[in-house]
Amino acid sequence: MNTNYREYSFEDFSRDESFRQWVLNPHTKNDEFWEKWVSENPDCADNVNVAKALLLTLQEKNISLSNDDLAAITDKIVEETPLIIPFWKTTAFKFAASILLLLSIGLIGLKYYGQESGDVASEKIAPNLSSNYVEEENTNDAKKQITLEDGSQITLYPKSKIRYPKQFSTQLREVYLIGQAFFKVTKNPKRPFWVYTNYISTQVLGTSFMVKAFENEKNIKVEVHSGKVSVYRREDLEKAKLQQKNELVGIILTPNQEVDYSIADARLLKSIINRPEVLVANSPKHFTFDETPIAKVFGILEETYGINIIFDEKNMENCYLTASFSDESLYDKLKLICKITHSTYEIVDAQIIIHSKGC
């Protein structure tokens, strides 16, 4: 690379790394080059001098510690600084990536699979958790706080048990839960976080969520309020592990979606959560529609709740809506729209389907 310094302005010089070194940190290998260059190009002396003067003026006083001093500072910091594990809020702010997510799992089957079979199962699916682990049980009436070595935090609810390795592996963070817990996971896309329960496993990438396990419920439920998780059936995971397949049959959940796992028919069923929340942070609370084409109304609702709305556009092309919405739930809004447009709705596969006879 042959930089044409002859065409440099004083600004260019002052931003050139090699030139800066010569001026600001003299007595290095650059000295020779620049001294020679300056003497060979006297007509550029003005620009060189101005750039030099500019840098020196800006530097003003060279406060510099020697490398030894700096090394001593480093040692001191390392020795004397305690590691602060972030609080929920701090983390939430610092990791903008801390996507809020609420995930709840209702779980039954402990009567058949008790603790032992759970252990056996956890060995198959997460060998890391079968040795050198920490197990915490909350037998009190109060919630218990646990901080993992990656900074993730767990709030363990009463009558619950969690198992995690003393040291997570470099690729995966895995925990096994019986009961209920709230997780606040430090984001690290390179080390996905897995929560295993008896029947289903949930993978998350840095988020906070709730895992609930009630012994008297027949379904397992994962509810996402924001963020993204994937849910897998345990048997599929085990199969994939056995066959060393990378493809997994799972269900991806986005905000306002939930999945129900029915233990009786071992099936995952995707749906919409009970009270879908407004997803867009700055979206207006109030919607006012004035003779608005129904397609536009549905478009706005889709965007606000992140849920697909399927309808026959041709059939409903003459439908217009005049209404104003405020705090009603999504379902209340839908009911009103359906009443006005003489239609009905149903929820299929986490989508809303509108049946209309036309307006």
């Binding site: 790394e17 090699s18 101005v50 800006l58 003003e60 480093t74 910091i77």
Partner: protein
């Protein structure tokens, strides 16, 4: 032979930062070695007290190290550090009343970017010394925000958006401040140079 450029690779900074987040003492040491003096120099522009500035810079690294598990990955490590030092110095100087100003209402607005004092520079060559006097006179005639922009742009060699981040303004304001400063510098400096050339022509 053109000397090899010791370009501060931003890529390298990001890697160091990631390693630091994972608890690497080596990475912390490298960042300190690379930036500590530079940060002190910047801090000294606000508060003329070397010990105070050194403590502030050190405190910034202490905080980074202690919060390494939760700290985010900045786009520009250099800009992040400069901005942290700036904030730290402002906060501490208010707290310790270093500036002797009790009436600070809005910290940001009351930031004093000191005038450059050329007598602090020890330079052997006399002609350079003279040029420095002129340049510093010129720079000190600029409003303090322009002065800081020029410092960050030329001495710290930063991009516009990095400067914007540090000074807490938008990139357009940085451009405007820089343009205004350039205009003053160019006008005055080219004036000097043209005057000089004119003299030579006249004499010959």
């Amino acid at each position: 032979m053109i000397p090899q450029e010791a370009q501060p690779s931003t890529n390298n900074d990001s890697q160091l930062w990631q390693q630091l987040k994972n608890g690497s003492e080596l990475a912390l040491g490298k960042l300190i070695k690379k930036y500590f003096n530079l940060l002190q120099n910047y801090g000294y522009k606000f508060v003329r007290n070397e010990d105070f500035v050194k403590d502030c810079v050190q405190e910034v690294f202490v905080e980074i190290w202690s919060r390494r598990q939760s700290i985010s990955q900045p786009d520009s490590v250099r800009a992040y550090l400069l901005s942290s030092v700036r904030k730290k110095i402002l906060r501490e100087s208010v707290r310790q009343k270093i500036n002797g100003d009790d009436k600070i209402i809005n910290i940001e607005n009351d930031l004093k970017f000191a005038e450059f004092s050329p007598e602090l520079i020890i330079i052997e060559q006399e002609n350079t010394q003279e040029t420095i006097q002129k340049v510093s006179g010129l720079l000190n005639s600029l409003p303090k925000r322009q002065r800081e922009v020029v410092y960050l742009r030329f001495y710290q060699n930063l991009e516009r958006d990095e400067i914007a981040q540090i000074m807490g303004v938008n990139a357009q304001s940085v451009s405007n401040l820089l343009q205004a400063a350039f205009k003053t510098i160019r006008e005055n400096w080219s004036g000097l140079i043209i005057h000089y050339l004119f003299l030579i022509n006249f004499i010959s």
